[in-house]
Point group: C2
Chain length 364, copies 2
């Protein structure tokens, strides 16, 4: 988020710049502040900070709100607005632009994608995701090796990734899996039906075969349909519930662990390519606004060829507003033990090609 | 652990080398395997892996066991043994050496310190701690900035570090705190009495002043004495219990989060100096065994002067076996809001001088 902000500020350094504090909440409360040049200069060294320099906010906006937001911006003489965010943000961008147009106010609005969940439509991937995937892939590899070392006294771990409704981050845990016996042994994603009994059988079978089992679950994992009807999805903490089941039903020492806020914040795991792309999209947003464009989210399109390269495309808000992009069907294998090779090839340049699997332990 | 192992193997590459699998459990089960030269060569590139190449183990050993362990080693013609571990391991090293001597077997035993908790006596710090402290310091800085950005809708986080009985890792969370208003705002360690009511008042006061509060707690935090007597310590999960109390009693949206296994395993957060020192101690162990020394743990002693430098000392097992090193009294401030400057100066070279605090947010 901050890398995109600084790309934008630098590419628009000769303009009169204002920042909206706390997102749409700040628009609602008319908290808009000039961004003097010293701010850009002084904070350049810290463009890699996590969080949001301008703060985040939540605002359950309705149609009337957007007209008020537009009015606030018009009074300040704002000509263009770039907004950084995900699905919901792009929906709000569209509504804001429409509300401005209805009142005859020529406000240009451009969206910059950002989400660790990677559920944004219209773009090959969203900034933030590559770094989160790097965190998840490397941490699961490392915690897997740690578990293998201590399997004589602790043999099952269930690690929980972010991803409310989609499995992009959970599947990223398999990036560095080379051999079938490497952890993670099982990955459970919302795109595939989940059955607790099948889960227990799969953990038990893995443990019997290898002496330990590492499973990764997405926080938005949907439980299976029971005869009594559809269960409510368990959100946040599913890893601990499943670890409890493994303890109770399989009598195996299990630990559930959320990978936590580090997924979206830990700077030691930032993917340098991710940061550069975020910055590039911020710069592109500045150029689009200068040239009078509006009504689009900037997207990353992968160029054909074996060498990784992207270009910036424009996607109308209509195509992304509210849409949710799950893992495509060809990357949802039937088995939780499989990690599609195509997905790994797609992910590697985003998370960083320097990551590698470990050679086998001597004590296996 | 693996860095020390490879330092040892490389410095003893011309010897006949064996590895004991799964620590003292492997000694009990006589699982000792030759380590051919190709093993050292092939795994050199992976000396940074977490966990233990030779596996870890748990064995509740008594005096009779050590005589059997010594017998197993003598039958194989082992002349020297280096063992990597913490307090309990150094106790076992001493017992094993004594048992061998009682039976007239000239077994040399040298201990290599390793613990993320840093509770080993006799050494300035233990390998593993610097990397764990780097993980904790950087992650708490980053999650703190993340929290500051979202404080309008989530304003209290309680982060839980490792450290069963000592506060070294929890206090490390304060390494990058520059101003009183920077997170972490409060650090609770086992070395200071803990009172839940005082804790709630301190969180509430911080939240009132700054609009958010980030507290760090050590997993081994000891609850206060009540009139009914001494409460049992809450271990592992204290962060979630405290977050629940903040939710219920203060009516503030709070999240408890364990920093998890990444503290001891995440290679993206390894302190390069820590890795080099671990390797150096492995090499030193090989030299000690070659020259016939025995009965000592190798320790890191800091040289005087402003530039960081260490040398390797020998400490008799008697001085470290079973001893537990808490934070010294001068680094246990009266207030959980304080981080002693002397502690920060001591810690910075271990965790890495490249880490820095962030400039202030615009939305504060």
């Amino acid at each position: 988020m901050n890398a995109s902000l600084f790309g934008l500020l630098e590419a628009a350094a000769d303009c009169s710049l204002h920042g909206v504090l706390n997102g749409f909440q700040g628009l609602a409360e008319d908290r808009v502040t000039p961004l003097p040049r010293w701010f850009v200069e002084e904070h350049r060294r810290a463009s890699h900070t996590p969080g949001a320099w301008l703060g985040a906010g939540r605002w359950p906006a309705g149609e009337a709100d957007f007209e008020r937001f537009a009015g606030n911006l018009e009074r300040r003489g704002i000509g263009g607005l770039a907004i950084i965010g995900g699905n919901g943000t792009m929906w709000a961008c569209r509504e804001l632009e429409r509300a401005a147009r209805r009142s005859g106010y020529d406000l240009r609005v451009v969206g910059i994608p950002k989400t660790v969940d990677n559920d944004l439509a219209g773009t090959d991937h969203a900034p933030g995701f590559g770094s989160a995937a790097r965190f998840v892939a490397a941490l699961v590899r490392d915690v897997g090796r740690d578990l293998q070392s201590v399997k004589n006294f602790e043999s099952v771990r269930i690690l929980e990734t972010m991803g409310r409704n989609v499995g992009w981050l959970a599947m990223s845990a398999g990036l560095l899996k080379e051999r079938p016996e490497d952890p993670p042994h099982l990955i459970y994603i919302p795109e595939r039906p989940f059955d607790e009994e099948v889960f227990l059988r799969e953990v038990e079978e893995t443990h019997r075969r290898l002496g330990y089992a590492l499973a990764v679950v997405s926080e938005g994992l949907t439980p299976h349909e029971t005869e009594a009807g559809l269960k409510a999805p368990i959100l946040g903490g599913v890893s601990r519930e499943l670890a409890g089941m493994v303890n109770d039903r399989l009598d195996l020492p299990a630990r559930g662990e959320l990978l936590g806020m580090g997924q979206r914040a830990f700077t030691l795991a930032v993917s340098e390519r991710d940061r550069q792309e975020a910055r590039m999209l911020g710069e592109a947003a500045a150029y689009r606004l200068r040239s009078g464009e509006s009504g689009v989210m900037l997207a990353l399109a992968r160029k054909p060829g074996s060498r990784y390269a992207v270009e910036v495309w424009d996607v109308p808000f209509d195509e992304v507003a509210g849409a949710e992009r799950a893992l495509p069907a060809e990357w949802v294998p039937d088995s939780p033990a499989a990690v599609p090779e195509g997905f790994r090839r797609w992910l590697a340049p985003l998370a960083g090609e320097d990551l590698a699997a470990y050679p086998p332990n001597l004590a296996e």
